[in-house]
């Protein structure tokens, strides 16, 4: 929207409002859809598909964080709590009440949204630092307290709720292999991205951006800022709940460790690296934060296989052993570097490249 190659003009506003304004973009998007819906599931190996699923899960989970931080200017440091609420609501509804997965997932999203609104209420009065505290409280109250202490005891199943294989199905479609999860993931990612992008080009999204940029001006122009902040928390929690409910399809058992504080922080890192205030940013950040560690692991693994490199760098096998910590440390560094050298995130680079080619060959 807004950016089109020079020389393209429109006759109707509806054309100017369309996303894919040129044949070229249509072609590109068609290729993308063929790739994600057909080529990847057909030809990629099991390992790649499982990595893709993690990417998709990260996109879904980070979408709400992006909405709150990137588009509405509200901070959330406890988003894993809302993922957990979605996951547990969905699991419990399925296991205890035998509600079909799809409905349970939607209810999980709604409950996640309402739960998020609850912790967004202080945003009516406080900003910045204090909001960090209340959203962190969401993490500890929800996951470490309610879920670990009480919810996990429901049904006497022990701490983890195991989901018997074959329980999760949509109509006749039983979701059990990674490939099934992949298809579900792609559908959800496309739907959530569309919903988010659509909101941002209509009344509600513009009100969010206005609150982020200048809340006083927004209120002066008739935006009920408390209401719209809470709507932002609701939608962010809804996306979170859907993400959590989706992820149970690839978990054998749901337990609180899947929604720890580190994951909340990780999601903030995703949007910082990808780009704050950009949907592309969410996607790039998720790709980067998932693929680079996998690549790194691969590289270290590859290097340890050859005696030459092990002699050169005797700490390699140790690195592989402790990879989990290496990964976290590497990402701490990555975020620091990004904040210093690329404060606008990957999406900004992408935008620059795209703009360059839109004006090419006269780039002034």
């Amino acid at each position: 929207m807004g950016y089109r190659p020079c020389g393209v003009y429109h006759q109707y506003y509806s054309q100017d409002h369309a996303w894919w304004q040129t044949k070229f973009v249509w072609g590109k998007m068609t290729l993308l859809f063929i790739t994600i819906f057909y080529l990847i599931p057909q030809f990629a190996g099991m390992y790649l598909i499982s990595v893709a699923n993690v990417v998709g899960y990260t996109i879904l989970a980070a979408m709400g964080v992006q909405l709150l931080i990137g588009y509405c200017g509200q901070i959330t440091l406890g988003h894993a709590a809302f993922l957990a609420v979605g996951a547990y609501t969905c699991t419990l509804l399925m296991l205890q009440l035998h509600i079909p997965f799809l409905i349970a997932m939607i209810i999980g999203g709604l409950v996640g949204g309402l739960w998020c609104v609850l912790f967004g209420l202080p945003s009516a009065r406080v900003k910045g630092f204090y909001l960090i505290m209340t959203t962190m409280a969401a993490q500890f109250i929800t996951v470490e307290f309610f879920i670990t202490q009480y919810i996990s005891q429901i049904g006497g199943r022990g701490v983890a709720f195991s989901i018997p294989p074959g329980t999760i199905k949509i109509g006749p479609w039983v979701i059990k292999t990674d490939r099934d999860v992949y298809y579900l993931m792609v559908i959800l990612v496309v739907l959530c991205t569309l919903a988010m992008a659509n909101l941002l080009r209509s009344k509600v999204g513009r009100a969010w951006i206005a609150i982020r940029d200048n809340d006083i001006a927004a209120e002066t122009m008739g935006v009920n800022i408390v209401l719209y902040k809470l709507l932002a928390f609701f939608v962010a929690g809804f996306f979170g709940g859907i993400a959590g409910a989706f992820w149970i399809t690839s978990l054998a058992a749901v337990s609180p460790e899947h929604f720890h504080f580190g994951w909340s922080l990780w999601l903030v890192g995703v949007i910082l690296i990808g780009g704050v205030g950009s949907i592309y940013g969410t996607i790039f950040g998720s790709l980067f934060m998932t693929l680079i560690p996998e690549g790194l692991k691969f590289l270290i693994f590859f290097l340890t296989q050859s005696p030459f490199f092990v002699n050169l760098m005797p700490f390699l096998p140790h690195l592989l052993e402790k990879f989990l910590y290496v990964k976290e440390a590497a990402f701490g560094l990555a975020i620091a570097f990004f904040l210093i050298y690329e404060p606008n995130g990957l999406s900004y680079r992408w935008w620059q490249i795209k703009n360059y080619f839109n004006l090419w060959p006269f780039s002034y």
Binding site: Y13, N214, A217, M221, G222, V223
Partner: protein, 269 residues
């Protein structure tokens, strides 16, 4: 000019203090529908505070405000906007990272209906609504204020004079019944001042708009030219009110501006 005798805005005995600073002390006035009502006064007189009280950003400690017969003293700024009170700011308050068009679109907020669900789906209702309002913005506002060439530009990158114009455009998009203008001419060059003064007259006089204007301005030349009535404030108190010549010749006003004598008449023209 369709100046009526109908009182649109009534401000009654406003007292507003910040800690020890008395910004307004018992100010009362009435604005008639269709007029250009100017508030003048030296720096720190309380003009901006007055506008903030009318539009609800500040809540006075004492006094009442009525808009079209309805008391609005307790209403929040967004509720007053919904009644048709719009404004611009002395220090530009735009959504800097957004395009000109998106800034103006936000001005349409109170007239848009799409909610969460229809917005997320977009196709159908919301798409139609967006096109309709885009049409309105292009026809009524962008055309009037002559900003066709910058509609897709990011506001933060525009020169100051154009930003002022975009702010006016956003305020107009609300389709207001009354518009509060806080120093719309400050910082503009001669040509821009002339344009802006013309826009204010257009908004006030054109059949389509006929919007009441409350104008806070230091440029006496323009104020005396275009206002129907003028009120002068000094240290939070009303010292004069009347037609431009009456106020200009009022001894209190002359005294208040004493020492600023050159500033008052030699501003840019």
């Amino acid at each position: 000019m369709v100046l009526t005798d109908e009182i649109q805005l009534k401000v009654e005995n406003i007292h507003m203090a910040f800690g020890g600073v008395q910004a307004l002390m018992g100010v009362s006035f009435e604005v008639k529908k269709g007029e250009i009502f100017s508030i003048i006064g030296p720096n720190g007189a309380g003009k901006t505070v007055m506008l903030n009280c009318i539009n609800g950003l500040y809540h006075p400690q004492k006094g009442r405000i009525f808009f079209e017969g309805k008391e609005i003293t307790k209403l929040k700024p967004y509720q007053r906007a919904q009644l048709g009170i719009s404004r611009t700011f002395q220090k530009i308050e735009l959504f800097k990272g957004a395009t000109v068009l998106d800034n103006i679109r936000l001005g349409r907020h109170i007239h848009l209906k799409s909610g969460l669900l229809s917005g997320a789906i977009y196709f159908g209702k919301t798409a139609r609504e967006e096109v309709e309002h885009r049409d309105f913005i292009e026809r009524e506002i962008i055309d009037l204020l002559e900003i066709e060439h910058i509609r897709d530009k990011i506001v933060g990158m525009l020169p100051y004079g154009l930003q002022k114009r975009v702010e006016l455009a956003r305020a107009l998009a609300l389709n207001p019944k009354i518009i509060l203008l806080d120093e719309p001419l400050a910082g503009l060059n001669l040509e821009e001042v002339e344009d802006m003064a013309r826009f204010i007259l257009d908004i006030n006089e054109e059949e389509r708009w006929q919007t009441t204007c409350v104008l806070v301005e230091h440029d006496m030349g323009v104020v005396m030219d275009i206002s129907h009535r003028v009120m002068a404030l000094n240290f939070g108190e009303k010292i004069a009110e009347g037609t431009p010549p009456e106020v200009q010749n009022n001894p209190h006003v002359i005294k208040a501006y004493l020492g600023e004598a050159e500033e008052i008449y030699v501003t840019r023209r």
